[in-house]
Amino acid sequence: MPGTERAPTYFLARQRSLVTPLILLCVLLVISAWHGPHLFTSDGLAGAVIGAAPLVLATLGITVIAVAGPAGVDLSVGPVMTFINIVIVLGLPLVGVSSPVLVFVAAIIVGVLLQVAMGTLIACLRVSTVVVTLAVYLVLDGLNTVILPEPGGTAPDWLASWGAASSILSPILYVPVAAFVLWTLITASTFFRNIRLMGANDRTAFVSGVALIPTRIGAHVIAGIFVGIASVMYSGLIGSADPTAGASYTLSAVTALVIGGASLAGGRAKGLGSVIGAIDIWLISYVLSTFNFGLNASYWVEFATGAVLVAALFAGGILSGLSPRAWRHQGGLAGPTP
């Protein structure tokens, strides 16, 4: 019967957004092999995994929000992670919680609660995602500094040991892999398809009977789960609590999202792209750290991250033939398509 077989061309066309992050990954791996071969030792790989894992997971979290669109950029992710980091390091010991399972559960609950609060505001008040997450960014960034003016505290021992892991065959690998399996299951679900279609065109979804408010809040629940897991990994990575890291983490995660090929117009973003994008971001700072920039290293990272983001946008634009597709529904181009 015509139309029932899966056309491979469409499958390939949908993978086109992965081209940019993959090319960048290859380039960075080649430079690493040449200039920082330490990466390919057991030690180096473990460091890479624990170094990149929080960003990978955080990027997956905000990918759902980008899919739910429109203009679904979650600016709050950095301060949210920092907040959960403070909760894990300073808050949970106060109530005597330190076992791995409970820490994960608590982190996920805090992440989900924060995201649900934002999702409810976005869905019910119909205020744009950027504005709400911006407000939450300000609130939490301020609050984090009020609670903890200086970096301090120590993570639970089991968690702190993750940061110094020397083999990748340990929880630092199992947790992200389990999280990605969870991601794959979620994206295959009916619920996620509704999120995707709502992101592509919420009016179509609405008149077709998709319940917009639960669907949007659900997208934020998924984001909260991944941001929660990311925060645990992040606490393991730095081994303490740091109130100041929020802003740069937001920038890194949004950059990773864009490099990964997500369309901020909504409806189009791939988890795999976001994962590769996040790995790219980590590799950029790794590669730069192998050069001897001394005190200037942080400037180079800032410059390179920004430049790569712009370059990725360029490349993405060229690959899609600068197609004004996303622009069109805002009235950018009129007239029927040939």
Binding site: G3, L197, A334
Partner: protein
């Protein structure tokens, strides 16, 4: 009224029951005490001028809007939301083609069909059903995995119709669903409607195209100014009767064709040609197009959807580029080439869009600013706008086009579609252009405003303007145009002139039958 009550009492119970419903949007009262009823197993048309409340009625039935007063009942219950309406077997195809760009065709067909967490049908079942239905509707296979934005407008419209049908509805509302369908598709659409009626589904059709509903409708309810003014049944449904009801007591003029009689035909000669298109190709492998439009001439552009007439008028207006060839406006003996919107403006050519929402009006600006924005640039001195001068131009055009406006400072959407279109036309005329290119200007415009527009175009032609007039309603060409260029496969397939222009001959040419044309020519 009498016809309606008589008809409903003689046959079974009403499936749809709308009683004394009112709905307002701010100051605008879309429906005021509207009554309407329809039975299962009938095709019922809802007709009326623009702004008479037809679309609002459709939205109430879909659960998209709620009535301010009165009640809407379908099969005994009120649709509380699109979700609830869908569960009760109500499917509505809206005027705008609502698709989720980025989703596949299959996603778009079954959007909203799944529950929150689980699918109601398996993917395999969906594919099989969808393929079978689309195959029948579109008349050929459609790739279910293709991104939906790659489809033509015609196929997208079918996808939206198929989405409504796949839910096995008991009430289907088509709000101008044939607007984007090409001619052969409309025939298939009628078949679908007849099948639905045969299987006991209640079908409501909201339309502007009167000849369509005379073809398939059992009954027709006429709305005027937000209230029902009468229901016609069976043989009573004629163009004359419908127009009479729509116009109410004011419609004392001759009901019937809305198109004015053509006065003595103008023609185009090398001497008076104002617009000269030569060897323009719309696609690399398409035949070149040569067309000249003389001063005082109205040339219609026709064609099935996607056959190049829209691209042609946009190329002429400098919005899109053709592949090779040249476009010139001749003004005062000098040739001005057109290759961009700016050069078109310099050459004194004005483009008037018909899709106001997409490329006509500015929703954030007032009525006056919507007019003025096109005049500011020309009247600006050192960048500063001469508001007083523009206001004079505005008053002038409002009077000439008899635009009905409340306050000039009111938002543009306070005007009816027809008056919004007149603002768009007026701001183009304010620059006193030599050549006018109108891209489907009567789309979604009520009959009164259409007549005004036809008369205006004739008047402009008599004053020596050259006019290109693209339309999707074939009847419009007859009597209005001096010539009609019919597009087929990205080129001008035939150019009809004078008495050759009949609905049948234009249609025949659109489908590529040159024979009919020859016969027509032989007859004269």
């Amino acid at each position: 009224m009498n016809a309606a009550s008589a008809a409903s009492s003689s046959l079974g119970a009403n499936f749809v029951e709308v009683s004394s419903v009112s709905k307002s949007f701010g100051e605008t009262r879309a429906l005021r005490g509207c009554n309407f009823s329809a039975r299962a197993g009938e095709v019922h048309a809802v007709v009326g001028e623009n702004g008479s409340g037809k679309s609002t009625l459709a939205k109430l039935l879909a659960g998209v809007l709620y009535p301010d007063a009165g009640s809407v009942r379908v099969n005994g219950a009120s649709p509380a939301s699109p979700h609830a309406a869908r569960a009760r077997g109500i499917a509505v195809v809206f005027q705008e083609i609502l698709i989720a760009e980025g989703g596949s065709v299959l996603d778009n067909l079954y959007i909203g069909d799944d529950g929150l967490f689980s699918a109601r049908r398996s993917q395999r079942q969906k594919r099989a059903e969808a393929a079978a239905l689309l195959d029948r509707l579109v008349g050929g296979p459609v790739a279910l995995d293709a991104p939906v934005e790659d489809l033509s407008l015609n196929t997208r419209q079918w996808v939206v119709i198929a989405r409504a049908l796949l839910g096995k509805p008991s009430l289907v509302v088509f709000d101008e669903a044939t607007a984007a369908l090409d001619h052969s598709s409309v025939e298939r659409f009628f078949e679908v409607v007849r099948e639905l009626r045969a299987s006991g589904v209640c079908v409501l059709i909201v339309t502007h195209r009167i000849h369509e509903l005379t073809a398939i409708c059992d009954r027709a309810t006429v709305l005027s100014d937000g209230a029902d003014v009468g229901t016609l049944a069976g043989g009573e449904i004629t163009e004359a009767r419908l127009l009479e009801l729509m116009r109410g007591e004011a419609g004392s003029g001759p009901a019937g064709g809305a198109v004015p009689e053509r006065p003595a035909g103008a023609s185009c000669s090398a001497a008076n040609a104002a617009l000269v298109v030569s060897k323009l190709r719309l696609a690399p492998d398409a035949p070149p197009i040569d067309l000249a439009v003389g001063q005082g001439e109205i040339v219609g552009l026709a064609g099935l959807e996607g056959h190049g007439q829209v691209e042609f008028i946009q190329a002429v207006s400098g919005i899109k580029r053709g592949v090779g060839g040249s476009i010139h406006v001749r003004r005062e003996g000098r040739l001005h080439a057109i290759d961009s919107a700016l050069s078109a403006d310099r050459a004194n050519l004005a483009y008037i869009p018909g899709d106001r929402k997409a490329e006509g009006t500015f929703p954030n600006l007032s009525v006056f600013e919507n007019f003025g924005i096109a005049c500011y640039r020309r009247s600006a001195r050192a960048g500063f706008v001469d508001r007083r001068r523009v206001m004079r131009m505005f008053r002038d055009q409002v009077e000439r086009l008899s635009i009905r406006i409340g306050s000039a400072a009111a938002p543009i959407h306070s005007l009816s579609g027809g008056n919004q279109q007149k603002i768009v036309v007026g701001r183009a005329l304010a620059a006193s252009p030599l050549v006018l290119a109108l891209n489907d200007p009567t789309r979604g415009v009520d009959i009164g405003a259409k007549r005004d527009l036809y008369a205006l175009l004739r008047r402009l032609a008599e004053n020596g303007k050259a006019i290109l007039f693209l339309s999707n309603e074939i009847e419009e060409f007859v009597g209005l145009c001096d010539r009609v260029a019919v597009f087929r496969l990205q080129s001008a397939f035939a150019v009809l002139a004078g008495e050759e222009i009949t609905a049948d001959s234009v249609l025949a040419a659109m489908f590529g039958y040159a024979g009919a044309l020859e016969r027509e020519r032989a007859r004269h």
